[in-house]
Symmetry: C2
Subunit: 341 residues, 2 copies
């Protein structure tokens, strides 16, 4: 069921930090911070990912006109085993902490819970997530030194972290001085869907049926596409995005012109030197594209209403060795442009 | 800050499933289900853990007088990399799903979010968690075949799964026919605390400072111990329980008589044949003890108010190899006996 926050909830501020490949991509100039070494001053890739989370949250808090203690509750998670890059990255903030695991859907999962909690119980919640090519690649696929061939459906894990601060305090909105603010007007939690895919190099196909399921449930309650400028999936990539467009078309919804995917937006897919095959993936992918591009466009009046669908593949390597398929999930966050009063 | 559900929220029902060692322990007869092979009909330990979750949720749903579709939202998580035992265990229920990672605090984390969501947005939420000695031991410590010595502070991962259904629908309470029902009257999310411990065989010491931090924050808002029958930690074990009692005593709170720990309750610690050293641990530990023992005692009028503190160690093995400490967390759920009207 589609759930609406009891009180109006606004995304007051956001922060994004990326690595070199993302900085060199088409959205490069939009991100708040980057490090072309991908290490962010740390001596391991896991610590580098933690450092990205720390910086992304720091930026989001500061850009909202806040200090860390203004945040009542923090939601975070990532792809590394036991979500350690979130724990260590956010430890020094000393904030009440709710750990999430939503695979690459974590940005949407965190926004969803932040919005509902802020709409009913807290003044402000923040949520953070991240991924790093080097931590994900060696944990899920191959050693970094290994030069294997990647099939065309494979995706490239984004090195990046995004953080968001939600508030229900209307006076907060005047701290930033913008005319518009993104408001979270509804959320719809995803249902895990097993589409029969067991190829870890084809995550897009594994997640597309979950995105379809969530969209169909959303449209069963909200019949009209009117006013929806964009349906933005997290990291279906070229393959999954095509499958979702086909599934929608086969249900009589020819809306591919309003369909976009963060995994397709973050890199230059047709540039062979970029070598990302079907596009970006990872928790950081949707987080940094939503923050740096989409929310800025809403704030500046260029976008009205966006359905943000965080897509995730709920698997690990051992499950595949044991013959399991890869279930997908897609959490929906309805974000609408609101005028600051 | 201590958060109270907007509407009254009741724990309508619960289910618990355990393995052989737990069934042979002092609470053995209280659990709803067990399998002395620890395999639950599955061909791998990970699949066995999934099967336990499936059964625990099925029992909780059925005991509450529900069908699965009566549940609006499901919270779940576990210790296995990327929380796969929750995903695969609960896939067939086809319910909206929020994945959590709270290490061994997951039962409390899930209850906390279930209570707040049920108190404001949904009719009913369920939460599930599990652990399995064989999945945890080989992932976090040694191959199962390896016969290493365990130090006295080491704990034994509980093979078990617990599930809980929260409702805000007062008429639901008549489905079970009991005079009393446990009500979640408040929650307090934990703050990760780094107590300087980096020994994976001494999780109790790593988590005790987090439990202390949460309790101190709770008592800073609720000054009195009056009416609190029990302060129940999740899996501090003998070592961590002793440290927490000492920390409380050093702050002028001599309450060791009201302090209990699920990790100490689930096994016969002084029976050398049981071989569990400092006691039980794992997500399943606090979940099954809370379900089978504590909530039943509240329901039958033998306990009034319980502070349930789910304790967790937010680490993985790689973090320790990289020289990190083990941060602990403790989420508090205030459970009070309520008379059914």
């Amino acid at each position: 069921m589609v759930i609406r926050p009891v009180k109006p909830v606004y995304i007051q501020s956001w922060g994004s930090v990326v690595g070199r490949k993302e900085y060199e991509g088409p959205l490069g100039e939009l991100f708040d911070g980057y490090d072309t070494t991908d290490l962010f001053g740390a001596d391991t890739f896991e610590k580098a990912e933690s450092e990205m989370q720390k910086r992304a949250l720091g930026l989001a808090v500061a850009k909202g006109g806040y200090l860390p203690e203004d945040i009542d509750l923090l939601f975070a998670g990532d792809l590394v085993n036991q979500c350690i890059t979130s724990t260590y990255g956010l430890l020094s903030y000393r904030l009440p902490y709710i750990g999430l695991f939503g695979a690459c859907s974590t940005a949407a999962e965190g926004l969803m819970l932040s919005a509902l909690m802020t709409g009913s119980y807290t003044r402000r919640c923040a949520n953070v997530t991240s991924s790093h090519y080097c931590t994900a690649e060696r944990q899920f696929r191959f050693p970094l030194e290994y030069g294997g061939q990647r099939p065309p459906t494979a995706q490239w894990t984004v090195t990046g972290s995004g953080a968001f601060v939600c508030t229900s305090e209307k006076e907060d909105l005047h701290r930033t001085g913008f005319r518009y603010v993104p408001q979270i007007t509804a959320v719809l939690p995803g249902i895990p869907v097993d589409g029969g895919i067991n190829d870890a190099n084809n995550m897009g196909a594994a997640m597309a049926p979950a995105a379809m399921d969530t969209l169909m449930r959303y449209f069963s309650e909200n019949k009209s596409l009117d006013g929806i400028d964009l349906i933005l999936t997290g990291d279906l990539g070229r393959e999954g995005n095509g499958i979702l467009a086909d599934l929608l078309w086969s249900h009589g919804m020819d809306i591919s012109s309003r369909l976009a995917d963060c995994g397709k937006m973050i890199y230059r897919l047709d540039d062979k030197k970029t070598d990302v095959h079907a596009g970006g993936s990872g928790c950081g992918c949707s987080a940094v594209v939503l923050a740096a591009d989409i929310l800025e466009n809403i704030r500046h009046g260029r976008l009205g209403k966006v359905l943000f669908l965080g897509t995730g593949a709920l698997m690990n390597t051992m499950a595949l060795y044991q013959g399991q398929n890869i279930p997908g999930i897609a959490h929906l966050v309805e974000i609408s442009r609101s005028e600051v009063e």
